[in-house]
């Protein structure tokens, strides 16, 4: 039982990280209907910038742990946000109105560029960071095992919930959120009503990138290892999470992310760690077969 609870907590932590990345996919898909293949790389770049900023702040500027983390969070959010903006500006905006597959290909191109750019500039080695935040609280224990909820896990889950709530409020309550939802439903009409659609799309990319960078920071702290290749698999799983939850839906992204995290953790714990990704994709396929628009996606009536 204790083992199960521990895996549940680990899965939830992992799931919140996926959820943060999934938001970028789901919002971009919701508004321009494309899979932003480069989003996983944005997350990877966020992780690298966070690590560099953290080390720079602590080693060279003598920041303490808390100061370093805050510096890392702010710097990575700023720069990664700018990366997200630039990617949209360079690779996607020129292709608005182009055949449907063109932006997908340019996204794949962008993703390859970013991966190799980071590999060339930072090397192909795995970067290892010693665990910084240790300790936590004991949740329960039985004869064999003590279930631990670390401060870090609490921080990750807590910060994700705060960000998700904030974003939900922005989307549901602010003028920008209204514009965003309007563009997602009908960009042409939104433009006719005076909404600057390009600006809303840019902002959507920036939001997605900022959240992904936070996820990158978390993953750096949580696992302590990053390399230039982490974006691919995480991106794929986060996209899976977005589809699983119902693409275009914010609560769906959270639900999908948590499901993927839990499936991955529990499958690794009880079956085989090698096939955890197979489990994730199989669940995705099954869900799509029986509920093609995801768990929270609205079932569409085919318009004829």
């Amino acid at each position: 039982m204790a083992y199960f609870i521990q895996q549940l907590l680990n899965g939830l932590t992992l799931g919140t990280i996926y959820a943060l990345v999934a938001i970028g996919y789901t919002m971009v898909y919701g508004i321009i209907g494309m899979i932003n293949f480069a989003h996983g790389e944005v997350y990877m770049i966020g992780a690298f910038i966070a690590l560099i900023a953290f080390l720079g702040a602590t080693v060279h500027f003598g920041f303490g742990l808390t100061g370093g983390l805050i510096a890392a969070l702010v710097i990575t959010a700023l720069f990664t946000g700018l990366w997200g903006w630039s990617i949209e500006r360079i690779a996607y905006r020129p292709l608005r109105g182009a055949p449907k597959l063109a932006p997908l290909i340019s996204a794949i191109g962008m993703s390859i560029i970013l991966q190799n750019f980071v590999q060339l500039s930072q090397g192909a080695r795995v970067m290892t960071l010693p665990p910084l935040l240790q300790g936590g609280i004991e949740v329960m224990s039985d004869d064999s095992l003590t279930v631990n909820l670390s401060w870090l896990q609490m921080g990750i889950i807590g910060l994700t919930l705060v960000l998700m709530t904030g974003l939900t409020l922005i989307i549901n309550r602010t003028a920008f959120g209204r514009a965003q939802r309007a563009c997602a439903q009908d960009p042409k009409m939104a433009a006719l009503l005076g909404i600057h659609v390009d600006r809303v799309i840019s902002a959507t990319f920036v939001i997605g990138a900022v959240l992904a960078s936070v996820a990158g920071l978390m993953v750096t702290l949580y696992y302590g290892v990053i390399d230039f290749y982490i974006g691919f698999l995480a991106g794929m799983k986060a996209f899976t999470a977005a589809v699983l939850g119902g693409i275009g839906s914010l609560p769906g992204a959270l639900l999908g992310g948590l499901s993927i995290g839990l499936i991955e953790a529990l499958w690794s714990a009880y079956f085989s760690i090698e096939y955890k990704d197979v489990a994730v994709f199989s669940v995705l396929i099954l869900v799509l077969l029986f509920r093609p628009t995801g768990i929270l996606g609205r079932a569409e009536v085919e318009k004829i």
């Binding site: 720069f79 794949i108 390859i112 190799n116 199989s282």
Partner: protein
């Protein structure tokens, strides 16, 4: 964007933006010291980025300002170009400059041309976005390797079997998912591609895991081998012709083999396109609801495209395995699927000739920059991006009708 000042301004802002973007990732480097990680500054690189992007952006905006003649090939020219390319490919090994490395590169390009033609049936004609095509390629390669090893049967028997096996896989995987639309289908096929790769990686007892399979049987021509010495009882190609042995013979043989396979693929695909089945593929791409209203069962049509595409990948996979002599799951990662989709889209979604050019650009060009190992993939990504921005509908986007009314008075 035509005058110098605006172009200069655009380039300057691009340079500033690039410098800011590069600052954290390029301007600082993570480095391992005895005690742990630290960062080192190397800010001069940011200055280089500033200059390079500034100049590059100026060149690009200038290039965009020029009115490029569009290469809209009329259907007939496109046909003729196809024939010219085929004849050139046949003659290539006999040209004076054709050395071993050139033929090797041409063989590699032809593998991708064949894969592109196979995937074109699925993506270009039937309009089904398949991002897991490398999975079928892998199944072809592994079925060939395993069949050849386990039963010691020849390449010529294994080849159709491997194709058949891939097609069956295509049917089995396609059946449940083909009713999904557009991007959902893309993600599911991508998932399938990854599942196949992970299984190959972990099913140690069958596939050899990450080490893959080595010593795969080489192909023979009418039982003649392309080795220096014949195996017991057999004959080598050189012996049979009474010429001295040269390692080039095998290289050239492989080239002609893939050329024949590719041309056969092309021939069958083009012929199928002109049959009711092919027209139904394209009709399905254009409007699935209209197809259903005309009594066409969309699942069957999609499955046929999927299976035929998978079969071509199976053939190409067998060839890949016999050419390399060894295979590992690494050769069938997502990036392979992405390259093949990129070839189809860049070629113009449905144009056979366009695919040849796309394969030369995307596979051939980076091969020539092999020496710059590390920059190869970066260049590949940049090519994808730049070509898509300049020609979003592909190189040859004109569609030629499958049938023509002779005297439409």
């Amino acid at each position: 964007m035509s005058d110098w000042r605006t172009r200069g301004k655009t380039s300057l802002s691009a340079a500033v933006l690039a410098a800011i973007l590069a600052l954290p990732i390029l301007g600082f480097q993570l480095s391992e010291t005895g005690t742990g990680l630290t960062v080192l500054a190397r800010l001069h690189t940011v200055a280089w980025v500033f200059v390079a992007v500034g100049l590059g952006s100026f060149a690009l905006t200038s290039a965009r300002a020029i009115k490029w003649p569009s290469i809209a090939l009329p259907a007939q020219t496109s046909d003729r170009l196809g024939w010219a390319l085929a004849i050139f490919a046949l003659a290539l090994p006999f040209l004076p400059f054709a050395d071993r490395s050139l033929i090797d590169k041409a063989t590699l390009i032809l593998i991708y041309v064949m894969l592109g033609w196979g995937l074109n049936v699925v993506v270009g004609w039937a309009g089904l976005l398949d991002l897991g095509y490398a999975g079928f390629y892998a199944i072809g390669a592994y079925s060939y390797a395993l069949l050849a090893q386990a039963f010691d049967i020849s390449f010529w028997l294994c080849l159709p079997l491997a194709g058949l096996f891939s097609a069956l896989f295509g049917l089995a995987l396609g059946f449940p998912v083909l009713r999904l639309r557009g991007d959902y289908l893309a993600i599911v096929t991508m998932g399938f591609g990854e599942i196949i790769r992970i299984v190959l990686l972990n099913w140690q007892s069958l596939t050899g895991g990450p080490n893959g399979i080595s010593n795969i049987a080489r192909p023979t021509l009418f039982g003649l081998t392309f080795t220096a010495r014949a195996l017991d009882g057999g004959k080598t190609f050189a012996e049979a012709l009474g010429i001295p042995y040269s390692a080039n013979q095998r290289i050239f043989f492989l080239y002609f083999l893939i050329l024949a396979l590719a041309l056969l693929t092309n021939f069958l695909a083009l012929r199928l396109r002109r049959l009711p089945l092919g027209r139904a593929w394209e009709a399905l791409r254009e409007d699935e609801i209209a197809c259903r209203s005309l009594g066409i069962n969309p699942t069957n049509i999609k499955l046929s495209a999927f299976a035929i595409g998978a079969m071509c990948a199976g053939f190409a996979g067998s060839f890949f395995a016999t050419r390399q002599g060894f295979i590992t799951p690494e050769s069938f990662s997502f990036i392979e699927s992405a390259v093949i989709v990129a070839i189809v889209v860049l070629g113009g979604m449905g144009s056979q000739v366009g695919i040849v050019f796309a394969a030369i650009i995307l596979v051939g060009l980076p091969e020539w920059f092999r020496d710059l190992q590390n920059y190869r993939m970066l260049a590949f990504g940049l090519t994808l991006l730049v070509v898509m921005i300049f020609k979003p509908s592909g190189l040859v986007s004109r569609r030629s009708p499958t049938i023509v009314l002779k005297d439409p008075a």
